[in-house]
Symmetry: C2
Subunit: 335 residues, 2 copies
């Protein structure tokens, strides 16, 4: 059975919401969870709950890294944090994967230091699944590496393709480079160099894509530097929120709108489900030698459950083996 | 009366939609328009229309710069393009402002070359007005300068503040720097240097802001490099579209949804109006020595009309004089 280490102390609503998600996951999927955090706190919380005790094990970690702590310093200083201990479980093969909705930078830093990187990969990247008109697209990197070199983006393209093929189930996915225009000459020197590099690879590269293509469904894997990817992700989330707010505001303003809202409620629910990040679980940290999934700080119990489900899927599919094979195939043909 | 030169050949639906917008504008506002484009084409179109002929003058320009042409080369080669001729009208003081929904890069390049820059401004920047929870915010730069230096972003912050105060009517607007996190240490070297620079100015700087703050209404003027600003803008537009699509799709799927849609139609209309870029007219190109407004390639007649209205407002308020004064005040206190 797949064993997932879960940072019980990560996220804005930890540990309660994390525990809710974990218990939901063990009830629904074929997984065991190592719940990482202060033993006394977790024991007290679990004592009040009904669940299959053979599937949830507490792993003690006395410290918690806060959301706003400087990542590298926190990882160095808090050796017994739930993030460090959880990653160590993967390192020691006590767990097959690690999930945290805590300090993203600390997870990236801890995973890179403890687990190391896959052969030939120089930087890990965060991949985010986004809904689009025809299905989903994957953006990589969403913020692990805000000062990348062009070759890192080639590596992201390779890893993103392998992930898309393997986990999202589409052979030979299209790859695009996020830029300010579609023409090859567009963008900064950095983006133009990256374009050349990916073009020489055997990946299914369709060239530059613009922000508007992320949601049109024309491109499966969208490669960006971590700064741009992170801003994009946060803008996307934020707009979805503000639009819902505007719409609700309009509908609440008179009886006709309120009636329409009541009547349309099932539609609004399905709509919300479609754009709800928690449906897509967490974001895989690709490139580290181990399976690590990062959750949104505001992760709900459902998001935690789905992230655990995705972790299981990645373990079952042996995603890192496939990434390594794709890296080897791709880079042999480039060189 | 304010005289606005309008590129009749700019935008995906030129010249018809541009002419519609122009005739609407002269009917509604106290403006004259110099309609710039091939005389025979424009004469033929206008002959079929009823309008106050004393308010619309055709200015002949034999060439058109296409949307996908390389900007600098096009400006060099097509001396008689509607963009070049229109900007020349401002240079020669035949017009008080210029509006184009054509090739953005060509407008930026042509305006910079022909009109020159305001004193101490080193690069022009495109400012975009976006709706948020409490009103609007201004993003600068949305793509005029994709390789800026930190000092250019300080200049954008100054120009954006002056514009917000003057045209959007809020004294001492807040200024934020778009970054991947709120802490001062976050981001690339470029962003950190920019942070220091703006912090030393007397602007109402609130520090780093994230993508999610653009729509929350916590910040009035959001400063970004042109690459990130451009991606942000296109992502924002694209998401608004895809969300409307998802929602319509859900509502069309059964009778209850369709009925809710019919009933809620006035709400949806007001909602669409709120998020419709055409309500906000075009985007001012700040920093050039003249008033230049850039429209979306897909500008509707309403967008053209609103852009002309905004141009008039900028002329009436003497925006460049105010920018110059803010620049002087701000930079004296920095140095």
């Amino acid at each position: 059975m797949v064993r997932v280490a879960v940072d019980a102390m990560g996220g804005d609503h930890a540990p309660d919401v994390v525990i809710d998600g974990v218990l939901e996951a063990v009830a629904r999927f074929d997984v065991c969870v190592l719940l990482v955090g202060p033993e006394d706190v977790l024991k007290a919380r679990l004592a009040r709950r009904r669940y299959d005790a053979s599937r949830v094990e507490i792993v003690h970690a006395s410290e918690t890294i806060q959301m706003d702590e400087a990542p590298a310093a926190a990882i160095r200083r808090k050796k017994d944090s739930s993030i460090s201990v959880g990653i160590q479980c993967v390192k020691d093969r006590r767990a097959d994967a690690f999930f945290s909705a805590g300090n993203t930078g600390a997870v990236v830093c801890g995973a890179t230091l403890k687990l190391g990187l896959l052969e030939t990969i120089e930087r890990p990247g965060i991949a985010i699944v986004m809904p689009n008109r025809t299905g989903v697209s994957l953006i990589i990197d969403a913020g692990a590496n805000i000062n990348p070199k062009p070759v890192h983006l080639l590596q992201y393209a390779i890893m993103g393709s392998a992930y898309f093929e393997d986990i999202l189930g589409k052979k030979h996915p299209t790859v695009g480079l996020l830029n300010v225009g579609e023409e090859e000459a567009k963008g900064t020197d950095f983006v133009r160099q990256t374009h050349q590099l990916i073009e020489q690879s055997p990946l299914n590269f369709i060239g530059n894509v613009e922000g508007k293509h992320i949601f049109s469904g024309q491109c499966d894997v969208i490669v960006a530097d971590g700064f741009v990817g992170n801003v994009t992700l946060k803008v996307a989330e934020s707009i979805a929120e503000i639009l819902s707010y505007f719409l609700k505001d309009e509908m609440a303003s008179n009886w006709r709108g309120r009636l329409a809202y009541l009547l349309g409620r099932p539609c609004f629910r399905r709509f919300n489900k479609k754009i709800d990040y928690s449906e897509y679980g967490g974001a895989p940290l690709l490139g580290v030698d181990g399976i690590v999934i990062i959750g949104h700080g505001r992760s709900s119990a459902k998001a935690v459950m789905n992230a655990i489900h995705f972790a299981k899927k990645e373990v079952d599919r042996n995603i890192n083996q496939n990434i390594l094979e794709t890296v080897r195939k791709t880079l042999t043909r480039v060189s």
